[in-house]
Symmetry: C4
Subunit: 200 residues, 4 copies
C-alpha cells in the first residue's frame, strides 16, 4: 500500500506528460494544405519523424513502467531525477517539429540527437537514483544489472549527433536503430518482481 | 491488487492520450472568423466532423475500459499492442482537421478511413494479445467470443476507404454507421466479470 | 474495492479531459503582441472570459467529484452520459476563444450560452443515469434530492442565451451568476457519505 | 483507504493540469525558422525562460506531492484553494511565452512576477486550508511549522515584480533564486509521515 501510494503519483504525472507529448507531436504535423496526393506527399517527412518520435516516447513509457514496478522506495532525489527526464522528453515535440520541416539539414538532426542524448542520460541518472534509494541488493538493482542497453544508447546518440553534421539522414538511421534495440522491453524487469520480493 | 496495479497504469496512460486527443480535436476547430451566422455556418463541417471523431474516440475509450476490466494478466506484447492502438488514435486529430477543411474531396475522406482501419486493426490485435496473455479459457477470451462487431468494423472501414474515391460523402455515412453500431458497449463484457472469476 | 476500480477510471478520464480543457483555454489567450500596457489591455477581455470559463470547468470538476464519491454503481448508460458531458465541456475552449475575440457581439455570447446549456443538461442527465443505476433509495439519490441548483442553472442559461441577442454583456452577467451560485459545493453531497452507507 | 480515495482525485487532477502546463509551455517555444545556428540562437531566450518555468512547475508539483502525502482530510475549502492554485499555474504558459518574446522589457517581466506571486499566495492559502481541515495538531500542521520558505517566496516575487520596472533582467535573477531555494523538497515533509501518524 505504501509502495502503491508512493510510486503511483510519480507514474501518474509522468504518464500525463508523456501522453501530452505524444499528442502534441501528432498535432504538430499540420494537416496537408490541399486535398491532392502531392499535398499529402509533402507532409510525409513530418509523418515519418513523428513515427520515430512516437516510438521513442513509447519505449521510454514502457521502460519507465517496468522500472517503477520493480521499485519499492522513492526519495527526493528520485523525484528530481524523474522531473529531469520529463524535461528532456518535453523537448521532443520541439525538435521533432524542427526536423520535420528541415529533414536534410545538419543542425536540426544534431539537435534531435542532443535531446535524445539528454533523455538517455536522464534515464540513466533516474535508474542510479532509484537503485541508490532501494539499496544495491534490492530487486530493482539486481534486475538492472550492468544496463548494457542504456550504455549502448548513450554511445549511439553521441555518434548520431556527430554524424548529423556530415550526413543528417545517416544519423536518423542511428536514432531509429536505438529505438529498434529498445523495442523489446527489458527482459530483466519483465517477470513480475513483486512475486519474489526477497528472492536471491 | 496485482491485477489492479498491472492494468491501472496501462489504463491511465491510454486515458491520458485519449483525453488529449479529444481536446486537441475540439481545439482544432478554429473559432469563427467573425461574429455573424455566416461565419458560424462556415465552421459547421468542422464541427460535424468533430462530432464523428469524438464519437469514435469515445467508443474506443468505452470498449477499452470494458476490455481491460475483464483482463487479469498483461505481458509485454499487450503493452506494445496498446501503444500501437494509441498511435493510430493519435492520428485522428490530423485527419479530422484535414476533412474538416476539405469535406467534399476524395483523398482526405479516404485517409480518414485508413486511420479508422488502423485503429480497428490495432484494437483487434490488442484483443488477440490480451486473450493470448490470459489463456483461451479466461474470462476475457470467453467474453469476446467471435468478435462479430470487430470484424464488421474492419470491413466497413475498408469499404468506406474505397468508396471515398468515388463518393466522399457516402464514405462518411459508412464511418458514422460503424460508430452507431459500436454505440452500445459490448454486452459480452458489460456484466461485471470480476463477480464470477471462475464461472463457466 | 469494486466501487473504487469502477469509478476510478471514469474519474481519471474525466479529470484528464477537464485538465486539458482548462490548459487549452489558457493557452488560447494569445500573449500580448507587444510589451506595453496598451498591448496588455488588449488581451483583457480574453483574460476575463478565461476566468469565467475556468470557474465553470472548476465547478463541474468539483461537483463531478462530489457526485462520483457518493456513487456506488456504474452501468453502460452512466458511461455514455459522462462522455456526453465531456463532449459539451470540450466545446468550451472554442466558444471561450470566440467571445474573447468578439466580446460585444450577440451570436458568440448566445453560443456560449448554448454550450453552457448543453453542459448543464448533460450534467442533469448524468445525475439521472447515476440515480437510476444506484436505485431511488441509494445514498446518491437521497443526497441529490430535488436538485434545485441544477434546475436553476438550466433556466439561467436559457435566459442568458435569449438575452445575448439584445444585450450580450448582460448575458455574461447571467452566466457569471450561475458560476457564483455553484461556487459552494453541494452541501448535500459534501459530508462523506461512505461513512453512512445505510443511514436513513 | 478513505484518505486514499479522498486525496487521490485531487492529486490526479492537479497532476493533469501541471503535466499539460509543462508540455504546452515547451510547445510554445516555436521550432527555429531556419536550420542555421543563427536561427537556433534566436529561440535561446524562449528556451531559457522555458527552463525557468519548467523548474517552477516542477517545484510546485514536488511540494504539492509532499504536502498531500502528509494530508489526512480534505474539505470543500481545500478543493477550491487547490483550484485557485491551478488557475495561477495555468497562466504560466501565457507569461512564459510573453517574456520569451520580449525578454528585456519591463511589463512582461513584471507580469511574470505577478503570476509567480499569485501561485505563491495560492499555495500559501492551500497550506492554511489543509491545516485548518486537519487540525493544528495534525501531522501536516506540525510538519509545515512556520513555513519560512513560503514567506520568503512571497517577498521575493513582490520585490522581483517591483525591480522588473527598472531592471527586467535582474528580476529574472530573483525569480530564479526562488526556484533554487525551493529545489530541495521540504525536509519537514519528506520523511514519510504515514509511518508516525500519532508521533509527537
Amino acid at each position: 500500500m505504501q509502495r502503491e501510494s508512493e510510486t503511483n503519483r510519480l507514474e501518474a504525472f509522468s504518464d500525463g506528460v508523456m501522453a501530452v507529448v505524444i499528442t502534441i507531436m501528432a498535432f504538430n504535423v499540420k494537416s496537408p494544405a490541399g486535398a491532392t496526393l502531392t499535398d499529402l506527399h509533402r507532409v510525409a517527412p513530418e509523418l515519418l519523424v513523428y513515427v520515430l518520435s512516437f516510438a521513442m516516447i513509447g519505449i521510454y513509457w514502457n521502460n519507465h513502467h517496468h522500472l517503477l514496478r520493480a521499485t519499492e522506495r522513492l526519495d527526493g532525489a528520485v523525484m528530481w531525477a524523474n522531473l529531469h527526464l520529463l524535461f528532456w522528453l518535453s523537448l521532443m515535440p520541439l525538435v521533432t517539429a524542427w526536423i520535420g520541416r528541415y529533414p536534410v539539414h545538419a543542425l536540426p538532426a544534431a539537435c534531435y540527437g542532443v535531446v535524445g542524448l539528454g533523455c538517455a542520460i536522464a534515464y540513466w541518472v533516474l535508474v542510479r537514483r532509484i537503485i541508490s534509494a532501494n539499496g544495491e541488493n534490492s530487486v530493482v538493482a539486481r534486475a538492472i544489472g550492468k544496463d548494457f542497453k542504456g550504455n549502448i544508447s548513450l554511445v549511439c546518440y553521441l555518434v548520431g549527433t556527430g554524424i548529423a553534421f556530415v550526413a543528417p539522414l545517416a544519423s536518423y538511421g542511428i536514432y531509429a536503430s536505438v529505438a529498434v534495440m529498445w523495442f523489446v522491453p527489458d527482459r530483466r524487469l519483465a517477470p513480475s518482481p513483486e512475486a519474489e520480493p526477497g528472492a536471491g
